[in-house]
């Protein structure tokens, strides 16, 4: 009995020191690695945010949890790639993809959202699942099922790496130009969206629509226009996300599942907050990369598969609406 | 169930120096009053005066920052709403809070929840004692349904019912709990005269037959004047009057704050 108790005790001590002590030794051993992991975390976070942003826009505007966002990202990315492969200049290819996404927004509004106006969130969620299936089939027919490399040169996306801080940390830290580009463009895009939402009356209208579709209609907010607008916007964000994700690996339909990575980001930041998507992304990105790297010894690999969700869960227990989400109104 | 005649008894609920605020908004300031057994107490006041908040305090949904609540001699400050329900406080809501996806019958059956004792394993069998219990309570509920004259909508999902009937079902749900204290928040809003008459009838009968104590909020002064034993008037979170209807109606503060120009007509009618 006692021996067993002792075993359990040592195991506990080992486990806890693995969690909370060993990482500090690891950092002391290679401080450059910590900086490197932080950079990786932020970069990964930015990539998650790019997907989360599309979710947020659509959720804000229609209270729809758009399951098809992942596929839209793939669709948008592939449109650019395929157009460039067909010899279209990069800038026109992007314009072409924008047109594709706007057309898609119109179609979705007409065929899915309009007939389902004023339905529960879960029903619309289901409809977007239907949409995701449809787009997956349709997309593979027109683009082919095989993933395609993103022509970074044609798009003038730098993809080299810069080594910095070598003197300070003993070993240099790598910064990837691709990540810098993503972060830079991401920041620009977020700023533009925030200005657009706050400076125009559309922003307020969006929140009204999300709160109560029917009442929004009744005061004359043109739901259909708003939907098309927001889905187009989300589509444009998707182009960017698609190209960036594609450049990091390949543009193909298997990217769609990565959209799940955006979910903890969303809840952490709050479903309706644009800045929340960015900050949430960064927190999740950094948190899970740190956990994955420094807890490998005690937990094994793959912690990052769920750590993001657990971080989000813990935050939710304190703030049920996420960090920046609209307060959940509980009244009777 | 006592079939007492109406006889106002001792203090059932006593509120002392209740203060409640939300951030900067002071919803209630130093409010004290009592509710006596078997009486019908009306709470009136302008919009935003804190009436609904008062009911929320009584049944434990809001927790006042200050003050003391004594219910049946027991002092309490903090409790969860379900404890209030356990102690025999039931209520209806200003914005209808029915269970929209359920039928009228099921809604009223939920009111019996605290009285049912079989655990879920028995219920899973739906047989023997569980079935017997279910049927017993169904009988009680049918009595409530008969009483409120809503037999025809027994099986209709309440979400589809017109507003007035929903209010009635909500009353039914509260009644099914056989409460000692019944809190009604604007039970007659959105009803025409005839329907209000029905509602008054129900309220008076409950009070009469079962001796249930009732606290109600209502904006229709003729209703308040006709059926209440006592009226408490709130304004901006403060109590400005407390007394029998006739007296309150003539109170200058009440006229200024609440009744306004129309009190002449009210009085005339």
């Amino acid at each position: 009995m006692e021996a067993v108790g002792l075993d359990v005790l040592t195991w506990m001590v080992d486990f806890l020191s693995g969690l909370f002590v060993d990482p500090f030794f690891a950092v002391a051993r290679r401080p450059d690695k910590l900086v490197q992991i932080l950079i990786q975390g932020v970069s990964a976070g930015v990539m998650y945010s790019l997907i989360a942003l599309g979710f947020v826009l659509i959720f804000k505007a229609s209270g729809v949890f758009n399951f098809a966002q992942g596929i839209m990202v793939v669709f948008a990315g592939l449109s650019v790639v395929v157009l460039i492969e067909a010899g279209v200049p990069a800038i026109l290819a992007i314009a072409g993809a924008v047109v594709v996404m706007i057309v898609m927004a119109f179609a979705i509004e007409r065929l899915v959202l309009r007939p389902l106006v004023n339905q529960d969130g879960i029903i619309l969620f289901m409809a977007t699942i239907g949409l995701a299936f449809f787009l997956e089939g349709f997309g593979q027919i027109i683009f082919g099922a095989d993933p395609k490399p993103v022509p970074v040169d044609a798009l003038m996306i730098p993809d080299g790496k810069i080594k910095v801080l070598g003197g300070l940390l003993g070993k240099p830290v790598r910064i990837y130009e691709l990540d810098l580009t993503a972060a830079g463009f991401g920041a620009l895009m977020v700023a533009a969206i925030i200005v657009f939402l706050n400076r125009t009356k559309i922003g307020r209208a969006l929140r009204a629509v999300a709160d109560d579709n029917q009442a929004a209609l009744s005061v004359g907010i043109p739901l259909r226009t708003i939907w098309v607008l927001v889905w187009s916007l989300a589509g444009i964000v998707a182009i960017f996300a698609g190209v960036m994700w594609g450049a990091q690996s390949q543009a193909g339909f298997s990217l769609a599942v990565l959209a799940l990575k955006a979910l903890p980001v969303l809840i952490l930041g709050g479903f309706t907050s644009v800045p929340g998507a960015i900050i949430g992304g960064t927190i999740i990105g950094v948190g899970e990369k740190l956990g994955e790297f420094y807890w490998r010894g005690v937990m094994g690999d793959g912690v990052e598969q769920w750590l993001g969700y657990v971080i989000a869960l813990i935050v939710l227990l304190v703030r049920p609406q996420g960090l920046f989400g609209e307060k959940i109104i509980e009244r009777i | 169930m006592t079939t007492s005649t109406r006889r106002i008894g001792d203090t059932l609920l006593k509120l002392e120096d209740i203060s409640l605020s939300f951030g900067g908004v002071k919803a209630l300031t130093n409010i004290s009053f009592e509710i006596k057994e078997h009486e019908i107490l009306a709470i009136i006041g302008p919009n935003g005066a804190g009436k609904s908040s008062m009911l929320n305090v009584i049944n434990g949904f809001y927790h006042p920052q200050e003050g003391r609540i004594t219910f049946r001699g027991q002092v309490r400050r903090q409790m969860r709403p379900y404890d209030a329900a356990r102690q025999g406080i039931a209520r209806t809501f200003q914005n209808i809070a029915l269970f929209k996806g359920m039928s009228t019958l099921d809604n009223i059956m939920t009111g019996r929840l605290l009285k049912m004792k079989r655990n879920f394993l028995w219920q899973a069998l739906y047989w023997g004692p569980a079935l017997k219990e279910e049927l017993e309570h169904r009988k009680v509920v049918e009595r409530v349904i008969d009483f409120l004259e809503i037999q025809a909508i027994r099986k209709t999902p309440v979400g589809r019912l017109p507003y007035g009937l929903q209010k009635r079902v909500e009353l039914g749900r509260a009644l099914a709990a056989e409460p000692d204290l019944l809190l009604l928040d604007e039970p007659m809003a959105g009803m025409n005269v005839e329907e209000k008459e029905d509602m008054c009838r129900f309220i008076l009968d409950v009070n009469d037959e079962f001796g249930t104590t009732i606290a109600l909020i209502e904006h229709d002064m003729s209703v308040v004047m006709d059926i209440s034993d006592r009226v408490v008037v709130l304004d901006y979170g403060r109590k400005i009057a407390d007394g029998p209807p006739e007296e309150v109606r003539r109170n200058k503060d009440v006229i200024d704050a609440y009744l306004g120009v129309s009190h002449e007509e009210m009085a005339a009618e």
């Binding site: 209208a205 209609l217 004359g220 109104i329 | 302008p46 209000k196």
Partner: protein, 279 residues
């Protein structure tokens, strides 16, 4: 009695601003709710729509503002015209642009917006910041309580405050015609009067036409020029407000006064079932 309103302001020959012709409404493809309702609102008139719970008042208003479709309801027969133009298949926002606005039953404020933001959404279809600000001040003048609570989230305000907010929001759109669904619900008596005063003033000063569904028959008939009584999805009676006020049945069932004067609620001992005009 079917006919057009005859009031001082409106010449007899004027065509009604809004006319609803014999409409039939079905929910969910199976529940028939309106069984041929016709009504007319003259330009500059105040028309009251009365009826018991479930008679179909709300449904009628929603049919006009075309919010029905969002509830899986459908107009299967009849037509609706506004200023001589059919509008039965026009979008709600298009109708708002044309000047018809509905104040929905049950408040429907945007919970997560502040009171002020709620009011401003009412002006969505309008341009011109200055004018909108002026109207905002006007609404605040009507409802001082709203001004006090302007920065609170609407979801946290009291029932009456929300009702004021809903009405104020509709006013912000500068409508030509308002569809009011139980505007007095949950309001203190003083405010009920005030609201009707505001409605009256809008009607007089700005020529806004009003269609009003109301349970507070007393007040409604006092301010209205004409009234319709709905029972079970049919119009069972209509006429000038004054005439309705004096009708015995209306008195009995809607005004609560019988031959012997107003009954006390305490004295109504026996349940009496309303005599249906349509058995």
């Amino acid at each position: 009695m079917q006919g057009h309103v005859q009031t001082a302001e409106v010449p007899a020959a004027a065509r009604p601003l809004l006319s609803v012709n014999n409409i039939e409404v079905i929910y969910d493809h199976v529940i028939l709710v309106l069984k041929g309702v016709s009504l007319h609102v003259p330009k500059g008139g105040i028309v009251a729509l009365l009826g018991a719970n479930g008679a179909g008042k709300t449904t009628t208003l929603k049919a006009i503002s075309n919010l029905l479709r969002t509830e899986r309801g459908d107009i299967t027969k009849g037509s609706i015209e506004f200023a001589g133009e059919p509008i039965d298949h026009m979008n709600t926002n298009e109708l708002v642009r044309r000047g018809i606005i509905q104040v929905m039953e049950g408040r429907h404020c945007f919970e997560h917006l502040t009171i002020e933001e709620n009011l401003l959404t009412g002006a969505y279809t309008r341009r011109g910041g200055a004018e909108v600000r002026r109207d905002l001040e006007m609404v605040y003048a009507y409802f001082p309580r709203l001004k006090e609570r302007r920065t609170s989230l609407a979801g946290y305000t009291s029932g009456g405050e929300q009702q004021m907010c809903a009405i104020g929001r509709a006013l912000m759109s500068r409508p030509r015609m308002m569809l009011l669904d139980e505007p007095s619900m949950g309001l203190a008596p003083q405010l009920v009067e005030e609201i009707f005063e505001i409605v009256h003033r809008l009607n007089q000063d700005e020529g806004v036409s009003i269609l009003l569904a109301e349970q507070n028959t007393n007040v409604a008939l006092r301010y209205a020029t004409y009234g319709y009584i709905l029972e079970n999805g049919r119009v069972v009676m209509d006429g000038d407000a004054a005439a309705l006020r004096n009708n015995e049945d209306v008195k009995e069932f809607y005004l609560g006064v019988s031959a012997s004067g107003r009954r006390s609620y305490r004295d109504v001992k026996h349940y009496k079932r309303r005599k249906r005009w349509l058995a």
